[in-house]
């Protein structure tokens, strides 16, 4: 199958099989920040933005992506760098495996709600599992990025 998909503000023609999910197709096209953390839509490591909203790329059929705007970490370098520095300042950039999914979710949150409460942040990120960091420093980094107290 073929589809024209806008990836990081660039229209790309993707070639793939009907059974393929966007995660594997994106990786094949060199977007290696997108990765798999589980097999059951449970961890959000694979999060990308589809039309600005965070979605699991492992469950999004590539065939569906036609006509949509996809964003990965590779497409938001400047913001990713800011977020990275904030995570590093807390020491919570541990194994890094959940980080790209985390970055995309944070950008998704910013798109939706620029001034969330702690509760709203925790709810928004509930699906983002991290086994290394214990989550505490991540909340500090999120709040600093959004400029909320």
């Amino acid at each position: 199958m073929k589809a024209i998909v806008n990836i990081n503000n660039q229209d790309r023609e993707l070639i793939f099989e009907p059974h393929e999910y966007l995660l594997d197709v994106l990786r094949r096209y060199g977007f290696l920040s997108v990765r798999r953390g589980c097999d059951t839509t449970s961890c959000s490591v694979c999060t990308i933005l589809v039309d600005g909203k965070p979605v699991h790329s492992c469950s999004y059929l590539a065939a569906r992506a036609e006509g949509h705007k996809i964003t990965t970490v590779e497409g938001v370098e400047e913001e990713a760098r800011k977020i990275a520095k904030l995570l590093m300042d807390e020491g919570v950039d541990q194994c890094g495996y959940c980080s790209p999914g985390f970055v995309m979710t944070l950008i998704g949150l910013k798109n939706e709600n620029e001034n969330p409460s702690d509760e709203e942040i925790l709810d928004y990120f509930m699906g983002n599992l991290c086994r290394c960091s214990g989550y505490v420093g991540q909340l500090t980094a999120i709040k600093k990025y959004l400029g909320v107290k």
Partner: protein
Amino acid sequence: MLWVCWTANCNKEILGGEMMKVVNQSIPKVDGLGLVMGKPTYTEDIIPRNALVVKVLRSPHAFARIKSIDASEALKLPGVECVFTYKDVPKVPFTRAGQAYPEPSMYDKFILDEYVRHIGDDVAIVAAVDEVSAEKALKLIKVEYEVFEPVLDFEKAEGHKSVIHSGDKIECKVDVGLEADKNIAAKVDIAMGDVDKVLDDCEVVIRRRYYTQATHQTMLESFRSAAYIDERGRLVIIDSTQIPFHVRRFLARAFQIPANKIRVIKPRIGGGFGAKQTANSEFYTALVTLKTGKPSRIIYSTEEVFEAGSPRHAMRFDVTIGADRNGRIRAIDLEGLSDTGAYGEHAYSVFLQAGMKSLNLYNKVEAARFKGKVVYTNHTPSGAFRGYGATQGIYAVESAVNELAHELNISPIDIRKMNMIRQGEAAIKFNFNGIKNTAPTEIVESCALDYCIDRGKELIGWDEKYPRKVIDKNRVRGIGMAIGRQGSGIANVDMGSATINLCDDGSFTLLVGATDLGTGSDTILSQICAEGLGVSFDKINIISSDTDITPFDGGAYASSTTYVTGNAVKKAAEKMRRLIEEEGARNLGTDVDKVEFDGKFIKVKGYDKAISLEELAIKLMYSQKQLVASDSYVCHKSPPPYMAGFAEVEVDLETGKVDVINFAAVLDVGTVINPNLARTQAEGGIVQGIGMALFEDVKIDSRGKMITNNLMNYKIPTRKDIGNIIVEFAESYEPTGPFGAKSIGEVVVNTCSPAIQDAIYNAAGIRVRDLPMTPEKILRELKSKTR
């Protein structure tokens, strides 16, 4: 009196009087930026082109013999390169346990065997050009099994009519008490004094039974490896592992090829927590690549990680504590049973730690004993998981001490202070198997437990909240506490080494075998190196975990990296400093005792004559010599980090649901090399501990099939499950540690379960003794209490 001062420009003087410029700083991780920005640096990102996809056919039976296996249909499928069965591989038994040689682990695993011993055990290995063909091929392999009754209850494993391992086919380099025909993988019997005699004499004796469950490490990057043959015919493995050097040794043994024909490279990895301290997928890719000459790769699904990985050993403990009425603990008798599952990789070592580490929290007892057995079952083989037995043993002992405190109507804090080990005291020296232990007595040179408890008490608000606060008629809050410890490396066993090269621009390359699994050890070791050399952090370029390039290191386990490898790095740095001073002196035309190196310049003392490190480096390289300094360290002690954990929970009396409101922890890890990274380790460990205490649970059905074999069914804590976590560190200094440091990696998970259990008791008056403490179990206890 030891003290600490923090100066405005961040030169820290730590206990012991050394001035710190780089150590004890929250320096950001060297790889942080690249990782968060998604740089392709993990195994899956650097797999060689055209690597064959390897998949494993796994047993659907918990215990069976392969009567026949026919791969002919699979081999006919286009795209399938090869299929291996037990008939095609060497019959050498080995262990996959990441431990120093000679391993106290049974050599009871084969690359492929005629017998399968757990659901998920390997049956056949397929390599094909792509995923789809490999999956199809798996389905075409025809296997006939002779199915045996599996051993699924570890309390009934000993003497079961199903004998899981044939004693004549397996061996153990170290005598760990293997009795294969009874399904006993190992036995432990350690004692000090005469426990039975002292217990007889005690005013108060309590006996309790506790269970801990199997839990999964659940690192988000599954097991995976890739293999290829390089231009010199050597096997190269790219491996998501904690133990590159041990993996090399295992492969050499399993495939009967020289270790120097194998190279193992660990790139960035997505966590391990001990799961990757057992070799796993490397055997499959090594096999395929050796046999075909082609590169190969394997990436485990979550189901494979859970069913064919190595969860925490489930254990049962019977704790007997004898004390007098005023709270002085006189004897502790611990009897345990541990489930090692189908293979005995970490059976003995984990079990030993359960007793050794927990009992040594209370060194002043007149007698102490730990004995028990580790049994084989047809469960997924258990393995290393943060805490490594100490977690389970400390849960049992600390819970019992809390129960004793209630029994005696003494505060759990006072009973700890009365009995716990303190700085300067001797650890219990255990006799093993009745043989007198003649090793020197170990003195604990750093222990700030006193402070940890006092400060933790403040942080949780103990005095205002103990024991409980009623919120409304359905909800009560309670607080509880526990102390914990781990070790730092394995004494006289763990060895780490470091090599430092001076580069032509005055910077340094630091080579260490030590494995960074995301913890930041690359950064920590660079800090120690920079501090030891007296240079700034940015001068250090660290390369780690490549068996061809970096010197030997056991790997990331036993909380050894900061303490053992850190000491090696410090020693190598000191050697390099001396070399710089020697060469600097020579280039300045004077003797070495007349110069000093301040990190930037080698100066002649008292004279206005100096050479910068950069100038010296260029001169040396073009054309004098390459400065190289290398050193190793074997730890002769394993100085324990300590922790006091305080939990505040809320119990819903009608549903049994428990929520953690606050968890405060104060840790003594000696000098904190990197406060941010250390704090994050603590927070991460506490969250894992909360999961283990309240809901993480490996569940197996009556056939032996793991029900909780993916992240939908096996839940780890989300950020909404943890309440408010507060972590602080005590001022402490371990004289034998690099700049006073001990370790932090494992201790962090050890206080949660006992502290939470007592908090629930204080809130609701009931105690659940088998983990996890789920709402259903709590409600059951509440209901039977009211009856």
